[in-house]
Amino acid sequence: MRFNSPKIKTSKVITIFLVWLIVIGYLLFVIIPYGWLFITSLKESSEVIRLPLEFLPDKLYLKNYFEVLAINNLNNSKALSINISSAFINTLIVAFISTFIALLIGLPASYSFAKYKFWGRKSLLITTLTTRMFPVIALAIPIFQIILKIGLYDNKIGLILVYTSLTLPFTIWVMYSYFRDVPTELEDAAKIDGCNFFKMFIHVILPISKPGIIATFILTLIYPWNELLLNSILSASKKSQTLAYALVQYNTGQQIYWGHLSAAVIATSLPVVILTLLLQRYVIQGLTLGAVKE
């Protein structure tokens, strides 16, 4: 900026103004839907549907949250009230176990794909990556029949099996691009020191790949947490219903109890939001890994 002519200055001011306008505008666009839902969750049912609409609740009303999260007897569910405690617990169990297994199996596999040459490597890798593209519905119909046949219908173990396998291609996809960038010298050095493969993998490769593993962990965890289609096919009762499907069932087409529903929705996404904000560096790395190499 050698020429400090007034013209350049005004255009610069306008640019900065526009930049901030767009960024703040987009931020509001992102925040408002959740914000409005959050405000609604703090209102009493009668207040939610009171006209004229008031923006803020009369008083802080937290009962919606207690009611939707109360752990009650599974058989004693009132038809109208919303309760998601069992779905919440199911989701925690299914999501964490399937993610853990997916990493346990996926990490060595992706390292092997990234670093070693073996028979069938290329075609196996490409097949693994292409499985990501199949529409879930194309898998859901046959998976439904198989799960029924092996007696895992409406069973958390069945869900864990399915989710683990479906997240594996993703785990391999992300970790493959990560392990490619790990210098092979590290492995050689460990070998010279007399480490066998597993020692080397656990003590050398895994620690330096921590950011990639955390990123993969979060993004793999999200899948069973949010998944709707398969869960709606594979579960029939509160025994194995996870959050997304449990929430969809409250959309009866008739009256929706928004006070309750909004509390349920906010409570179940809060863990995800907190995780996103706390680990955002890793999340963003994971989302762009495989897409952009920095």
């Binding site: 490619r180 087409g253 897409a291």
Partner: protein, 293 residues
């Protein structure tokens, strides 16, 4: 897109014993994927060709001659084109703006929330926002003396609502990928362009855009695949209605195969859906891994 300077040695050739180890490491993953992904697909393919009189193309023929399938296919293509184009444009604009802001990381963190929160949750948030009696948007429109439309009950507005919601959920992905690509742009071409007296529009046209091409290709294929499979937001917001206005292929295949129990028809339909996705995947894998695989 800077490829790491310690340019990684290609894959190692190992001795016979170690090659076996490498294969064994990948084996559990391969078996599991084969069991739950590959076997079902094979199963689906066989099913889709099965008819009472043996194997034939009858299931496919009956789907292709069905009006609701062609209508839904067209609808899904419309969704895909509109949503992906809007996302690319908005995503690029916001990413460019973020690049000019110092505290961009905090903004970026907040922007990613819709991407990770369940689409079911986000769809509910919008459903409530668009509620014609108590929704915030309708309320604001009424305040401005505009009669709000019946968002989800009117075929055209329902379509637009789905577009808005899906775009809202996934534009953050576009922003993040573009922004990471922008952050890794090499500096020197810009410096020389500066010396040559290039305008910022010229720099954008001849430097930034070409550099963004790989990121653009990746976003295009990944998002096309995702929107083509659109399901969750439609189930929550409209259930495919009113009428068939917001029906998508995934939902139609679900209805056919699961709700109405026509497994053969549902399988055939979901496999037809896979063909364009397959092409997109191949392009995507090529773009990401280039000659590295």
């Amino acid at each position: 897109m800077e490829i790491t300077s310690i340019n990684f040695q290609k894959t190692q050739s190992l001795g016979r014993k170690n090659a076996r180890l490498a294969f064994l490491l990948a084996l559990p993953a391969i078996i599991l994927i084969a069991l739950v992904v590959a076997y079902p697909i094979g199963f689906s393919v066989v099913k889709s060709f099965t008819t009472r009189e043996g194997y034939s193309l009858k299931n496919y023929k009956s789907i292709l001659s069905d009006n609701s399938f062609s209508f839904t296919l067209l609808n899904t293509i419309k969704f895909t084109l509109i949503i992906v184009i809007i996302e690319l444009v908005i995503g690029l604009i916001v990413a460019l703006c973020l690049q000019n802001i110092k505290i961009r990381n905090s903004f970026r963190a907040l922007f990613t929330i819709p991407l990770l929160v369940s689409p079911v949750v986000s769809s509910y948030a919008w459903m409530w926002l668009l509620n014609d009696q108590y929704g915030l948007i309708s309320h604001i429109l009424k305040f401005m003396k505009i009669t709000p439309p019946l968002w989800l009950a009117n075929p055209n507005w329902a379509f637009i609502s789905i577009v808005i919601v899906d775009m809202w959920i996934a534009t953050p992905f576009v922003i993040i990928v573009f922004q990471s690509a922008l952050a890794s742009l090499p500096k020197s071409p810009y410096e020389s362009a500066e010396i040559d007296g290039a305008s910022s529009i010229q720099k954008f046209r001849y430097l930034t855009l070409p550099f963004l091409k790989p990121a653009f290709l990746v976003i295009l294929t990944i998002r096309t695949m995702d929107v083509f499979r659109i399901y969750d937001s439609i189930v929550v917001l409209t259930g495919g209605g009113p009428g068939n206005a917001t029906m998508s292929l995934s939902l139609l295949a679900f209805r056919t195969g699961i709700t109405f129990g026509n497994l053969k028809g549902g399988s055939a339909m979901s496999l037809l859906m896979t063909i364009p996705l397959f092409i997109a995947t191949i392009i995507c894998i090529r773009a990401i891994f280039k000659d590295e695989i």
